[in-house]
């Protein structure tokens, strides 16, 4: 009985309506009460985290291509933004540096184009080979940015105009997060999304059924890269400076993967939930144990992979799929699996 109720609560439509209500409340929030800069900034950072996790989920969760270098698109977006805003006027006569709003779509498109170029060869690889190729791409881009000194400022990086506006940032990220979540919700229900999941489950089978797997994979990859590139460009502005070492950090990818896995790979609302939980954990629990918070992160990752591989939402949807779910539902006796049988 209990599961059925949970399933109803977490049904895609109810959750969608819930999220829409939450988005509207968040939009009204700064209008109703006076929010200080720190609250706006924290919420903005949460929105960024949620959106990044959802982007990653599109390629890593739904399509099943575990991308360990997704932060490369963040970096490309940030540096394209930086170059367009501060450097262009040095190379093209009469071209003024672009404004934030002019440069932002270009940053996203550049990341998308980069995804196309990188995806064509790497998406042919499967499993760990793809993951490693993307990790390599990520590390290589960091070095390339360092070498292209004339455009990127090399190791010194670029300074963007220091114009901070927390409220503008808040609304921008809220809108972008809303758009991305709605898009992902829609993709999940659409034929396109179902094809992606078919690729994840059995790529050869999907091919046999007439799905153009290459096209589907590349489109999913490019969409995720576009959104991540936009956020990279936005972040560059928010942070007011970029250099290869703050933009291309492995931790950003790891956080995207963790949030998706914690919430539930391939689900629509899992990665946002995972991102929210991780952010709060980072903020509150880990700040209490500053020396060991990376250890906590690692242990948490191991626990997720070993015992809750389907994530929180996956466990709610299908309790028998994870050890935690089986434990909570007392499935062990009812649905014996070979190894449990041996121990009983």
């Amino acid at each position: 009985m209990r599961t059925r109720r949970l399933e109803t609560i977490f049904s895609s439509r109810n959750t969608f309506i819930g999220w829409i209500i939450l988005l509207i409340l968040l939009a009204l929030y700064p209008q109703v009460t006076e929010l200080s800069g720190i609250r706006l900034l924290q919420l903005t950072q949460i929105f960024i985290f949620i959106t990044l996790a959802s982007n990653w989920n599109l390629i890593g969760g739904m399509t099943g291509y575990v991308d360990f270098g997704h932060a490369v698109f963040f970096g490309v977006g940030a540096f394209v933004m930086g170059i367009l805003v501060t450097q262009v006027q040095n190379y093209i006569v009469f071209a003024p540096g672009l404004s934030f709003w002019q440069a932002l779509p270009i940053a996203g498109l550049a990341a998308m184009l980069f995804a196309l170029l990188i995806g064509l060869p790497t998406l042919r690889l499967k499993g760990p080979y793809f993951s490693i190729a993307m990790l390599g791409t990520f590390v290589a881009m960091r070095e390339i940015v360092r070498v292209l000194k004339d455009f990127t400022g090399g190791g010194r990086g670029l300074d963007l105009p220091p114009v901070l506006n927390r409220e503008r940032d808040y609304y921008f990220m809220l809108v972008w997060m809303g758009l991305v979540l709605i898009a992902i919700w829609w993709i999940h229900r659409s034929e396109f999304g179902q094809s992606l999941m078919a690729i994840r489950e059995d790529e050869v089978g999907a091919e046999m059924r007439g799905i153009n797997t290459t096209k589907h994979k590349i489109i999913a990859f490019m969409l995720a890269a576009f959104s991540t590139g936009i956020i990279g460009g936005f972040w560059a502005f928010q942070n007011t400076y970029i250099d290869p070492d703050v933009v291309f950090i492995e931790q950003r990818t790891v956080e995207m993967v963790m949030a998706s896995m914690l919430g539930g790979l391939g689900t629509v609302w899992g990665p946002p939930l995972g991102a929210l939980i991780l952010y709060v954990l980072q903020d509150v629990v880990w700040s209490r144990v500053p020396e060991g918070h990376l250890v906590v992160l690692g242990v948490l990752l191991i626990i997720i992979v070993l015992f809750v591989p389907e994530g929180i939402l996956g466990t709610f949807k299908n309790p028998s799929s994870t050890s935690l779910g089986r434990l909570l539902r007392g499935y062990r006796e009812e649905q014996p699996r070979p190894e449990t049988v041996a121990t009983e």
Binding site: R146, G155, G157, D159, I277, P290, F307
Partner: protein, 427 residues
């Protein structure tokens, strides 16, 4: 029994989840960052405690990639805090004494966290003034926020010149900016007759600024620049660069990025018998570990230093540089690095500006900082219109008989520069 063990991970996960739920709802409203406020002088007796308090905030790394230097920075700030509250009796504003409350958080070396903590310090903790974080990058993030809220930020650990090229009116840096690192050394060797320079530097933010400054100063002192080479971070071998330099036969070699590079340069120079008349290595020689690692080959090597305990600066607050050294050693049980000294100086400068202004108003303190022209145990302090400290020359040390001695500038020197250095073959 086995059941119990199987339970354990779930319990752990549940604990994490519960911890997350225990946060005051709504989740985003949870307090940020390390709640590690350094309380105002713990032992201060209640009856003496003046009612008035100045709140000063700083986000400084305690963990992460800058844990070590950030720790020195924290020690420097805390040393000043103890002194100003316990010994000095609080900051004098007009006729009143204000106790200082210093709120420090751990930024983990991450710009997002820095931004969050500085926002928190300003909008939630409502601090009156800010002190800088460690590293140029984090100072860039933090100072942009301080500028937005029109808050004064005095910093002593961001040496990059680009910090001061953004038109900020509230940022003041007490340390000598990166471009001037080699200035006093190049001046000293040019006075001894050096005519040509070669430069090698690591291709990252700080060494690039140092090397660009070196080129500028070399030209200023009429030296010819024969070659400029760059090498990547974490380089393992510099002999190709040194071979090239040897053929050019320069008077002066300028190079460096990190401590390890300094070792590589000395070893390669010796192996290849490359003997310029002076070797200026920008990071490494002022660290006592350098002599331990290189031994006798370290002799005659010149290096810049922000501050040394043997310098001849003094002020009425902390006394001489040596007095500061002793005080720091007594409190923390280790000798102060220059990061610690410049952090104490940073806080001292803010204090003196508040006293000079006689007010906590941003505009008045800003004026006082702009007009400041003093000498502290750390060196002279005088800001230009961008907020850089142009009063303090970078010190230069030379290793003589295994000892680190200050040889330039003249105002701080305790020994004469040995020039030229004897060739490797004659040692």
């Amino acid at each position: 029994m086995k059941r119990v063990f199987k339970f354990l991970p779930f319990v752990l996960v549940l604990m994490f989840l519960l911890a997350a739920c225990a946060v005051p709802a709504p989740a985003p409203a949870a307090p940020a960052g390390g709640e590690e406020a350094a309380a105002p002088a713990e032992g201060a007796p209640a009856e003496e405690m003046p009612a008035k308090v100045i709140r000063i905030g700083a986000a400084v790394s305690d963990t992460g990639k800058y844990a070590r230097e950030g720790g020195d920075t924290r020690h420097g700030y805390l040393l000043w805090l103890d002194w100003v509250n316990e010994e000095y009796g609080g900051i004098k504003v007009g006729d009143e004494r204000y106790k200082v409350e210093l709120i420090m958080y751990d930024d983990e070396g991450d710009p997002d966290t820095t931004a969050k903590l500085v926002e928190k310090l300003i909008t939630e903790d409502k601090v009156d003034f800010l002190l800088g974080p460690y590293s140029s990058g984090l100072t860039k993030s933090a100072s942009a926020i301080a500028e937005k809220y029109d808050m004064i930020m005095v910093e002593g650990n961001g040496a990059s010149e680009s910090l001061f090229e953004r038109g900020f009116k509230n940022l003041f840096g007490v340390l000598t900016p990166a471009g001037n690192y080699t200035q006093s050394a190049l001046e000293a060797v040019s006075k001894q007759g050096a005519k040509s320079v070669v430069i090698a530097y690591e291709d990252t933010a700080f060494p690039t600024s140092v090397a660009e400054g070196a080129q500028r100063w070399a030209q200023e002192y009429g030296m010819e620049i024969l070659a400029v080479e760059t090498y990547p971070k974490d380089v393992a071998d510099v002999s190709s660069i040194m071979t090239k330099f040897k053929d050019l036969n320069p008077d002066v070699f300028v190079g460096g990025g990190h401590f390890n590079d300094a070792l590589l340069f000395v070893r390669a120079a010796k192996e290849l018998d490359f003997s310029p008349k002076a070797m200026i290595i920008t990071v490494g020689p002022s660290n006592p570990k350098f002599v331990q690692e290189v031994g006798a080959d370290a002799n005659y090597i010149i290096g810049p230093t922000q501050w040394e305990a043997s310098m001849s600066y003094e002020d009425p607050y902390f006394g001489t540089a040596k007095d500061y050294y002793d005080r720091y050693l007594a409190k923390w049980g280790e000798p102060p690095t220059y990061q610690a000294a410049e952090s104490t100086a940073t806080a001292l400068v803010l204090q003196l500006a508040i006293e000079q202004a006689g007010s906590l108003e941003t505009a008045a303190v800003r004026e006082a900082l702009k007009n400041m022209d003093i000498t502290t145990f750390y060196g002279p302090i005088k800001f230009d219109e961008t907020g850089k400290n142009v009063g303090k020359p970078m010190g230069s040390i030379q290793i003589q008989d295994g000892e680190i001695v200050v040889v330039a500038p003249e105002s701080a020197a305790v020994a004469d520069l040995i020039y030229p250095m004897p060739p490797w073959s004659e040692r």
